[in-house]
């Protein structure tokens, strides 16, 4: 039996749209293909959960709302007072056998991820996002769940002027259309997917 082909959410829109020729783009769009996304639910005070996460992934959950802790290629995003998203670029995160009283649910295929970067990235996001993204208010390693263009999006400020946008997989193509249109006036480069 041949190995199953994996079809990424942005395959049909990103393929062929890459245009690395755009000079000095205001925004660059690149699809991200994190290896693993794991939803964590539980009580942050639960020692069992905390130690399981530390031992399995070397991750400490952020307790301050809307912040991110990073450990190597794994980021832990605060989603709610008892909910986090672990994202690993490279590793397949295997849920530990006994995560204390918490639960870990694999959502690696549930969200599609775009990375937007460049000097005009905030101007583009502000077209659809009501959050205050000024660097003082929304610095690096801050995240938020919000709605952008009526799509539920997790926003992660990974580096200065670099944002990762996680949208539900079913919205990916529609969201791609919105993002590329919003970027157009600033000059937009579409880079190949990064995994």
């Amino acid at each position: 039996m041949p190995e199953a082909v994996r079809t990424y959410a942005f395959d049909a829109c990103a393929a062929g749209a890459e245009n690395s020729t755009v000079v000095a783009p205001g925004v660059t769009i690149a699809e991200r293909r994190p290896r693993s996304m794991l939803n964590v639910r539980g009580d942050p005070a639960d020692a069992g959960l905390a130690s399981a996460l530390r031992e399995s992934f070397n991750v400490t959950l952020p307790l301050e709302p809307n912040t991110v802790t990073a450990a190597g290629a794994t980021r832990a995003l605060w989603l709610g007072p008892d909910e986090w998203l672990l994202v690993s670029e490279r590793h397949a995160l295997q849920p530990p056998a006994s995560p204390g009283r918490g639960t870990l649910t694999d959502l690696s295929h549930g969200r599609a991820v775009l990375r937007l970067s460049g000097p005009d990235v905030r101007a583009v996001l502000a077209k659809g996002c009501g959050l205050d993204l000024h660097p003082r208010e929304f610095p690096v390693d801050r995240c938020a769940q919000t709605a952008i263009a009526k799509v539920s999006v997790i926003l992660d400020h990974v580096q200065p002027d670099v944002f990762d946008l996680y949208c539900p997989r079913s919205y990916a193509r529609s969201f791609w259309g919105w993002v590329t249109e919003a970027c157009a006036e600033y000059g937009c480069r579409i880079a190949p997917p990064a995994s």
């Binding site: 709302p65 809307n66 989603l79 709610g80 007072p81 909910e83 009501g130 959050l131 938020a144 769940q145 919000t146 709605a147 539920s152």
Partner: protein, 91 residues
Amino acid sequence: MLSIPCPYCGPRDVTEFSYGGDGNVRPPTGPDAASEAAWSAYVYLRANPRGVHEELWQHSAGCRRWIRVTRNTLTHEMHGSAPARASAAAS
């Protein structure tokens, strides 16, 4: 557009929230638990206060918490918010 203070995420636009109604109604308990009238009141009867009102909202496009918001229905002034469960547990 109202700005609703989420106790976790801070002020967010009302478009991120869904309205959950009067925060003061409680399902009948004790002797009332079997009373149809008490259940009907719980499900259907609502005050429509002019002024300060405690109501439930869900931060549905954010942290998905149900929260208890104290809002002046006349002026939209917000008098704070708290996780919905804290007050529910206290009552």
